[in-house]
Structure formats: structure tokens, C-alpha cells
């Protein structure tokens, strides 16, 4: 009954990164997910190659109130027009996209690290540790989110680091809850008992035995959360609590130009509005596609 013996060396377990990439590769099976992935990819490319792809300097006042498609004084076309101060909107969108993606990624990843550690500990150890962590998570989640952000930023001041801090503070409880739920569920499985009865340490079990099996819901949540964070950063910019001018930020762009919507220049605010909607749509579609694919697994 034995086949030809295969003496190939035994493979080590996939690292988190490798398994994440493998999951993403499966995405090809879902048209929804592929569309989302392509949209996100486009924005990433724009962000990375912003210096090369942006036609103009985003802060240079060139020709105020130029309509989309009109010519620039020194050549070139304002594909999306210019704003009330003469800055090219397309370039501002590209550079703004870079800032949003940079901060959103950094903030979400940080929130994930904090949330995963707390969630694993709460879900595995249970008892008092779980009660304390869950209580504080409930406290933080008891705030309507914008209220929380407004209070934090208003007190700490608006800067990149503070925005990241605010996102980590506001998002990690939600992540903690998800990880905790999955951890509690997995901890009842026999293979965890098998690990315990061979004397594995708690952190080995949490990080090597439990966490890789939680990756399904976490990857989906990660994409969704990137979308939420993008919206939040935009919202803060919109309210005037975002990154300081003149550097472009989509929310700030909208808020500065929205009075011109009814004045005959709607494109100034609408283009950045569409940009943020498109990026978030990309994340949402990607998350949905990943969820579909992980269910079929």
C-alpha cells in the first residue's frame, strides 16, 4: 500500500506573510475580488510612483478656476482642472492618495499588532486578564467613533503621528474582539489539547497553533479596515482636523472647495470625493471577494 518513498525534506509551516499571499492568489476565482484588487493596486501604483506620475507640483498655484481639460500656461493639460488657488487637482489627488495610503497602512497595521496580541491573550488565558481587556475594549467601543476621534485630535493636535495613535486607539478594540472570538473557538479544538499535552508554552500555542488558523476572518477584516481608516482620515481632513495644509489630503481638498460646488465649479470637490469613494470601493470589493473565496476553501 505504500507508494514509492519520497524522501523530500519536510516543509516548515508557512509564515503569516506567505499564507496571506497565497490567500490573495486564490482571489482570481472571484470577479468581485479581482476588480477590488485591481482598483487597490492602481492606487498603490499611483502612490508609489507619485513623483513620476503627477503632471504638476501639487502645491504650485498655476491657474485658478481652470476647467477640466483646459490648458496649462506652460504646456500640459489640467485633466481634472484646478482649484480656487490654481493648483492642479489631478496632481493633488495623486499626492493625496500617497499620504492617505501611507498613513492608513501604517495605522491599520499598528492597530492589528496591538489588537492581535490583546485578543490572543484575552481569548486564550480567559479569567481576569480577559475581563480587564474586554472591559477596556468596551469602554473605548462605547464612544461613537467620530466623537472619539474628534476628542483625541482636538486634545492632542493634528499631526500624522497623532492620527496614527488615534486610529490604533480606536480600532484595536474591534480587532481584539474578533481575534478573541476566533481564539476562544479554536482553543476548544483537539489539536490545541494535543499541543497542551505535549507541554507547549502558551505563546507558542497562541502564535503558531492558533493564529494561522484565524487568518481567514482577519484578512477580510484587514481589507475592510483599510477602507474605514481611509474614510476616517478623509473625514478628519474634511473637518479640519487632518494633516496641516498645504500638503494635499482628500478630505481637506473637499472641504476647501465645497463652497464652489453651488457656485459653478463642482468638479473641484467632486473629483476628490470620487477618488476616496473609489479607493474604499476597491477595499470593500477586495474584502468581499476574499470572504467568498475563503468560504469555498
Amino acid at each position: 500500500m505504500t507508494d514509492t518513498t519520497n524522501n523530500a525534506p519536510i516543509a516548515k509551516p508557512d509564515s503569516m506573510l506567505v499564507s496571506a499571499l497565497k490567500s490573495i492568489a486564490l482571489l482570481r476565482e472571484s470577479p468581485v475580488g479581482t476588480t477590488g484588487g485591481l482598483i487597490v493596486l492602481m492606487f498603490v501604483v499611483l502612490a508609489v510612483f507619485a513623483p513620476v506620475l503627477a503632471p504638476f507640483d501639487p502645491n504650485a498655484p498655476l491657474l485658478p478656476f481652470a476647467f477640466p481639460g483646459s490648458e496649462a500656461p506652460d504646456g500640459g493639460i489640467f485633466l481634472f482642472g484646478t482649484d480656487h488657488l490654481g493648483r492642479d487637482i489631478l496632481s493633488r489627488i495623486i499626492w493625496g492618495g500617497q499620504r492617505v495610503l501611507f498613513y492608513a497602512t501604517l495605522a491599520t497595521v499598528s492597530a492589528y499588532i496591538v489588537g492581535i496580541l490583546m485578543g490572543l491573550a484575552a481569548g486564550y488565558f480567559r479569567g481576569y486578564l480577559d475581563e480587564i481587556i474586554s472591559f477596556f475594549a468596551n469602554v473605548i467601543l462605547s464612544f461613537p467613533i467620530m466623537v472619539l476621534y474628534v476628542l483625541i485630535i482636538a486634545n492632542l493636535g493634528a499631526s500624522g503621528a497623532n492620527i496614527i495613535f488615534a486610529v490604533v486607539f480606536a480600532s484595536s478594540p474591534g480587532i481584539m474582539r474578533i481575534v478573541r472570538g476566533v481564539t476562544m473557538d479554536i482553543a476548544t479544538r483537539d489539536y490545541i489539547a494535543a499541543a497542551q499535552t505535549r507541554g507547549e508554552g502558551a505563546w507558542y500555542i497562541m502564535l503558531v497553533e492558533i493564529l494561522p488558523n484565524a487568518r481567514g476572518p482577519l484578512i477580510v477584516d484587514f481589507c475592510l479596515r483599510m477602507g474605514y481608516t481611509t474614510i476616517t482620515i478623509g473625514a478628519l481632513g474634511f473637518l479640519g482636523l487632518g494633516l496641516p495644509p498645504p500638503d494635499p489630503d482628500w478630505g481637506g481638498m473637499i472641504t476647501q472647495t465645497r463652497s464652489f460646488v453651488t457656485g459653478g465649479f463642482p468638479y473641484m470637490a467632486i473629483f476628490p470625493a470620487c477618488a476616496v469613494s473609489l479607493l474604499v470601493l476597491g477595499f470593500n470589493l477586495l474584502a468581499d471577494g476574499l470572504r467568498e473565496v475563503s468560504l469555498r476553501d
Partner: protein, 702 residues
């Protein structure tokens, strides 16, 4: 209308059912024929993947979005169901054809009362008022022996026990007096003693109402008790069919015969007459071989005869059963009964060594906070669940001790205390001298951990889905310090894979790519990787098909024999226990009712619970006579156990108030044969055996 009575209730010819998935069409059932006459009970038996449930779904025309009837006809009372409209089929369902399912709890709507769910049936099919429906439901509940029908009708499904839920499902199905009842594994999810009651009920009701039954199961013993005729399915086809007596006495098809060889019958013996597993694996639906589907696994496979074209059913004319047919090209030439594979050569009996495990008066109590308002006021806020009470027994080196009981008896708790996942509240658990009962798993030394390992019940949960097989086995080897050099670890992993008869290439596969039986073998390999002195096997074969279970059981026996490991076999399957255990411990509601050697426990004197358990286990041998004992009532709640004997609420031999009030004394019927009962030992000795095996021409025992 005499020819109306001749029309079979169900007539299926040439049925083909397929599922459509992303991978294309998957034929689940091929060329299926069946006739059920009025009042007849036909059994459909096979292992998972043979298509028997699909047949039931096809009859009900409920195959979901991705399934369909590809060919053949189904005629109900003479009418071709393909000609019926959706509306006509809907009217048939629940009224003329009804179905009963495997998991009764899941089959009932958790948000509606039982009464509401019952009353819908007559109200929808026959019109009628709510009062009439209520009365009929009430009467039906009485007919299925529910003691308090009104209370049940006002309850929600989760408030009643599994056995009662299944009775409700049966009542619901029979309310409109259907002509045909389909039963899909109705007792698989129930305890053995509860199962016996349900089986008896079904037999009784079908006789009374004249309902025809199609009884689907994987349990041959059960078929013997309920059915008139039986069909054996393999990979989407019927391979043999006939009257119960002919199939059980003269199984003709090699697969049928193979199935019987996998079942531990009373006269099987792990040393003298071991089980004979069927080699190979069920073919995948889209990879069926040409000719006979069973061919690759058949001992009598003959190239040229068996792999040519579709084999059709032939009548077996060597016996006097006109209904006996078989799908085998060589049935007239071969006699499966004469075949004895070399692998099933007899084994030597291994002598039992020194005592390795000794449990003394072990108790495990859990504290439960009762957060109801009543408890708050009465001060009884913290209650105790006595999961294990006064457990005492001994096991020697190389011995197999079985711990037997139904759900709630405390056997899983016992396993957890042994493994250190819980600590004992009182008492000792001595393994090679050290009391492990107080040492939690986190505090045990690597040697202690390595010497006591476990095989788990659910093959799907026993391995981490994210890691390769090789990594998981190798990790055990590394942790217990057996090898540290990666090359040596790998070599050892390969050796273990050889021992459990799996290809070495599996080391790089993930659990997802393995079948249930293969995963369970890996679980065994993992448990034995550290050369443990004692292994606890917690229901290792309950979740496996019959033929797979036989192979895994034999594997376990072989490894145990080689390493002289002490095996603690936890199970509710008395047939398996009788087959492989040397000593047996019978538990009920956390206490030991009886313990002794296998022979002592399986013959009188019995504890009344052991007696009932033995009677409840279906035996797939028509020549064996069995006394019927059916228990009434339910398992008491562990929060509120009876003060005296835990079995007093259901015991058919209850003496009187003494059983309710006083803890029964432990009487010794033999040197190490203990029975905890108030009934005098002499009385118990006079009881007739539950199972009588007729004298056979047995091979000379060793």
C-alpha cells in the same frame, strides 16, 4: 380495488442523480433500482459517500440548487413523479411521503414551540381548525410514548432531551398518516440506550399504521432489527439486495462480505479471529473505475472479467429468496466466505505486565454558578457537578482497559484529568508511581508528558489545518527530546508513517488533503511518536465508517502489541469494546457501575445498567439471540443527581426506596469484578445472559 394493493408504494428504476459543482458534474447515484411494497420496511445500507442520503433527497425532489435527477424514474403509488408539478410534489411532502433526519435538535425550529411545529402539518395539509390540530398532535405524542404531551407542546426544542426530540420528529412525520416514511440515520446522533427505544418505536408504529419504511443507515445490526429487506450500496450503486435473512446468512457480494468482516461480532476475538479490513479506498465520484466499482479493492478481482463494462444485477438462485440479487460478474465462481487473507492471521496473546496505572478514589467536581434568581435567594448559588465520583481501577502493562458509558457519564472528564488538562479534586491517579492527578499539564516534566499521550475523537479537529503532517509529528519528536537532529527527526517521521501504513509523501501534505481515516492514523502516529507507556484513546473510531474503523482498530492493536503500551479505550460502542478490551469499566453519571474483565462484564452477574447497555447494542448476526430491555426516562441532570444510586431513575430492576436514598455497596463477584448495586449478588447471578451465541464450529482457540 385489489390491484391497487399490488402497486408498490415506491418504485424506482434506473435512477441517476448528479451534483453540479465548479468542477463539473459529479454523479452521486448510478443505476439505482428499488421497490417498496405497502407495509414493507426496506433498509438501505452503505458507508459515507455511497449515495444513500442522496437517494432520499432525490425521492423528495429536494436536491438543492446544484443537484438534479439525470435519468431514470421514480414512481410513487404508480404515478411518475417527474410528471408532477411543483405544487403537487409540495402536497405530497409531509402528507404522503414524510422524512425523519439524523440530528433532531437541528431539524426543529428553535424559535417555535413544539406544539406549533406539530400543528402546522394537519392544518396545512387538511385544513381544519386549531383545536383539531391540537388534539391530533396531542394524540400522536401519546402514541410515541411521551409522558406529558401538553408540557412538551408548550416547550421549545432545546428544552427537551435528544430522545424526546426525535420522538417529536417521528410524531411530526406520522401525523398525516403518510404511505411512505424515509428515515435517514435517525438514531446515529443518539445514545445507545435511547436508540434502542426509538428503534422499537419505529418498528411498532410502522406495523400499526401500515406505513412503508425506507430505512437508511450505516449500521448493519440496526437493519436486522427493523427491516424486512435490505439493499447494500457502494459508490452510488446497489451491489446486493435481498431479504434480511439471506443477506445476513449468505452475503454473496465481496463488499457485503467485507463489511461483515469489519464488524466486531460477539464471536470475534482480537487474537484468534481479528477483524478483516477492506483494503484500499472508496473511489472519488469522478474517478470510478471501468466495470465493477469495487474491483480495485476486491480480493477476487479478475482482469478481463471485472473491468470491462457495467455489471448489472443478477438473481441469486442458489437460495430460496426470490428477491436476492447481486451485482458481481464472478458471483457464481467465488465464495468470499472461504477467503482468509494472510494479514488476518491469528495473533498471539500478549501477557499483561506490571501495574502501570492505578486510579484510587478519584473525584472531580466542577463548580457551576447558578445565576437564576431562585438560587440567589436560597443561597444555593454555587452548585457542584460531580463529573467523576470515586473512580478506582488498575491497568497493567500491555493491557487494554475500556471505559464505557453514554454521554454525560464522565468518561471525557476522566480523560482530561489523566492528561492534566484538569486536576483531580480528590484522590490519586498514579502513573508508574507518581500521582499525576494533582499535576496540571503545564507543570509536568517532559518524561511525564511523553509517557502518557492521547488519540482524539474527531479526526477533523485532531490536526492543525495550517501545518503539514510532517511538521506536526516532527514537533512531538522534538519536544520530547527523542531526536534533535533535523535529518534524524525526518527519518523518524517517515518510520512512523510506515507504521501507520501511509505513504511517506504525506509528510508534506496538509490535513485538508487527507480523508478522515487517514487523519486518524496520523493522530495515532503522533500519539505514539514519543514512545508513550500509556495511551488514552477517546472514542477514536466513533466518527469513522465501518471499514475505515476496522482498519484503524487493527492498526491500534498492532502498534500496542509491538510497544506493549497500556491502552485506555474510551467508547460507547460495546461491540468494539468486547472485541478489543481485556478489562472493562462501565460508568454512569460519573460513577463506576461495574468493572471487571471483558468476559466477566459481558456475562452474568450484570449490573442492571450493563444489562440494558448490552441489550441496546445492535448485533449484525441473525443467529444471536438477544433479550430486549428498553430503558424508560431520561438521564438525570448532572446538577441534580439522585441521592442514592444514579441509575435509580431508570433501573428496570429497581428494588425500592433504598435505591433512591442509599448509595449502593460495591459487591465483588470475582477477584477484580466489582458491581455497585443493592440487589444481592446471588440474585444477579441467576439472571439469564443477555446475548446467547449459538454453538459454532469455532477454530481451536489458542
Amino acid at each position: 380495488m385489489s390491484d391497487q394493493d399490488e402497486t408498490p408504494v415506491l418504485e424506482i428504476t434506473g435512477l441517476r442523480l448528479s451534483y453540479y459543482t465548479r468542477a463539473g458534474e459529479i454523479p452521486a447515484v448510478m443505476d439505482f433500482d428499488l421497490r417498496i411494497a405497502k407495509g414493507e420496511s426496506v433498509g438501505l445500507v452503505g458507508e459515507s459517500g455511497c449515495g444513500k442520503s442522496t437517494v432520499a433527497n432525490g425521492i423528495m425532489r429536494y436536491m438543492g440548487n446544484n443537484g438534479g435527477i439525470v435519468g431514470g424514474t421514480i414512481k410513487f403509488k404508480g404515478r411518475d413523479m417527474a410528471e408532477m408539478s411543483e405544487e403537487e410534489v409540495r402536497r405530497l411532502r409531509g402528507k404522503d411521503i414524510a422524512m425523519i433526519y439524523q440530528e433532531p435538535m437541528a431539524s426543529l425550529n428553535p424559535s417555535l414551540t413544539i406544539g406549533q411545529q406539530l400543528m402546522e402539518v394537519p392544518m396545512n395539509h387538511e385544513g381544519g381548525s386549531a383545536e383539531e390540530a391540537h388534539q391530533r398532535s396531542f394524540d400522536m405524542l401519546k402514541a410515541v410514548h411521551i409522558p406529558d404531551p401538553q408540557r412538551l407542546m408548550d416547550s421549545y426544542p432545546h428544552q427537551v432531551s435528544g430522545g424526546q426530540q426525535q420522538r417529536v420528529v417521528i410524531a411530526m412525520a406520522l401525523l398525516s398518516k403518510p404511505a411512505l416514511l424515509l428515515l435517514d440515520e435517525p438514531t446515529t446522533a443518539l445514545d445507545v440506550t435511547v436508540e434502542a427505544g426509538i428503534v422499537e418505536l419505529i418498528a411498532e408504529l410502522s406495523k400499526e399504521t401500515g406505513t412503508s419504511l425506507l430505512y437508511i443507515s450505516h449500521n448493519l445490526g440496526l437493519m436486522l432489527e427493523v427491516c424486512d429487506r435490505i439493499c447494500v450500496m457502494y459508490s452510488g450503486e446497489v451491489v446486493e439486495e435481498g431479504h434480511i435473512d439471506s443477506i445476513f446468512s449468505w452475503p454473496t457480494h465481496p463488499y457485503t462480505h467485507g463489511l461483515f468482516g469489519c464488524i466486531p461480532l460477539p464471536h470475534a476475538d482480537k487474537n484468534a479471529r481479528p477483524l478483516t479490513a477492506i483494503k484500499g479506498q472508496l473511489p472519488l465520484p469522478h474517478q470510478r473505475p471501468k466495470g465493477c466499482y469495487f474491483g480495485p479493492r476486491c480480493e477476487f478481482f479478475k482482469p478481463g472479467t471485472c473491468d470491462q463494462e457495467q455489471i448489472s444485477m443478477a438473481a441469486v438462485h442458489t437460495d430460496d429468496d426470490p428477491a436476492h440479487r447481486v451485482r458481481c460478474a464472478r458471483w457464481e465462481e467465488v465464495d468470499p466466505g472461504s477467503f482468509v487473507a494472510e494479514e488476518t492471521a491469528k495473533r498471539e496473546v500478549i501477557p499483561v505486565g506490571e501495574t502501570v496505572l492505578e486510579v484510587k478514589e478519584m473525584r472531580k467536581y466542577y463548580e457551576v454558578k447558578d445565576s437564576s434568581l431562585a438560587a440567589l435567594f436560597s443561597g444555593g448559588e454555587v452548585k457542584q457537578v460531580k463529573a467523576n465520583e470515586s473512580i478506582s481501577f488498575r491497568a497493567g502493562e500491555g493491557e487494554t482497559v475500556a471505559i464505557v458509558g453514554e454521554s454525560g457519564c464522565g468518561k471525557s472528564t476522566f480523560a482530561k484529568v489523566l492528561m492534566g488538562l484538569e486536576t483531580a479534586t480528590e484522590g490519586e491517579v498514579n502513573l508508574s508511581g507518581t500521582n499525576l492527578g494533582e499535576i496540571a499539564v503545564g507543570d509536568r516534566t517532559p518524561e511525564q508528558l511523553a509517557s502518557l499521550q492521547m488519540v482524539f475523537q474527531n479526526p477533523n479537529d485532531t490536526l492543525n489545518p495550517s501545518h503539514t503532517i510532517g511538521y506536526q509529528i516532527g514537533r512531538v519528536i522534538k519536544r520530547f527530546g527523542i531526536e534533535s537532529d533535523p535529518a534524524k527527526i525526518q527519518e523518524r517521521v517517515f518510520q512512523l508513517l510506515d507504521t501507520v501504513k501511509l505513504p511517506r509523501a504525506f509528510a508534506n501534505r496538509k490535513p485538508r488533503q487527507l480523508s478522515g481515516g487517514q487523519k486518524q492514523r496520523i493522530g495515532i502516529a503522533r500519539a505514539f511518536a514519543g514512545n508513550p507507556k500509556t495511551v488514552i484513546a477517546d472514542e477514536p473510531i466513533s466518527a469513522l465508517d465501518v471499514s475505515v474503523a476496522a482498519a484503524v482498530t487493527e492498526l491500534l492493536m498492532d502498534i500496542q502489541r509491538e510497544h506493549r503500551t497500556t491502552l485506555l479505550f474510551i467508547s460507547h460502542d460495546l461491540s468494539a469494546v468486547r472485541y478489543l478490551a481485556d478489562r472493562v469499566v462501565v460508568m454512569y453519571l460519573g460513577q463506576i457501575m461495574e468493572r471487571g474483565s471483558t468476559d466477566e462484564v459481558f456475562s452474568p452477574p450484570y449490573h442492571p445498567y450493563t444489562e440494558a447497555l448490552l441489550s441496546a447494542v445492535p448485533i449484525a448476526d441473525p443467529k444471536v439471540e438477544k433479550r430486549r430491555i428498553v430503558l424508560e426516562g431520561n438521564l438525570p441532570s448532572p446538577l441534580n443527581p439522585p441521592k442514592g444510586c444514579p441509575f435509580s431513575t431508570r433501573c428496570p430492576r429497581k428494588v425500592g426506596a433504598i435505591c433512591d436514598n442509599e448509595v449502593p455497596p460495591v459487591q465483588f463477584a470475582g477477584d477484580r469484578h466489582a458491581i455497585a448495586c443493592h440487589i444481592d449478588l446471588e440474585e444477579l447471578r441467576k439472571v439469564e445472559p443477555v446475548i446467547t451465541i449459538p454453538d459454532r464450529d469455532m477454530d481451536a482457540a489458542d
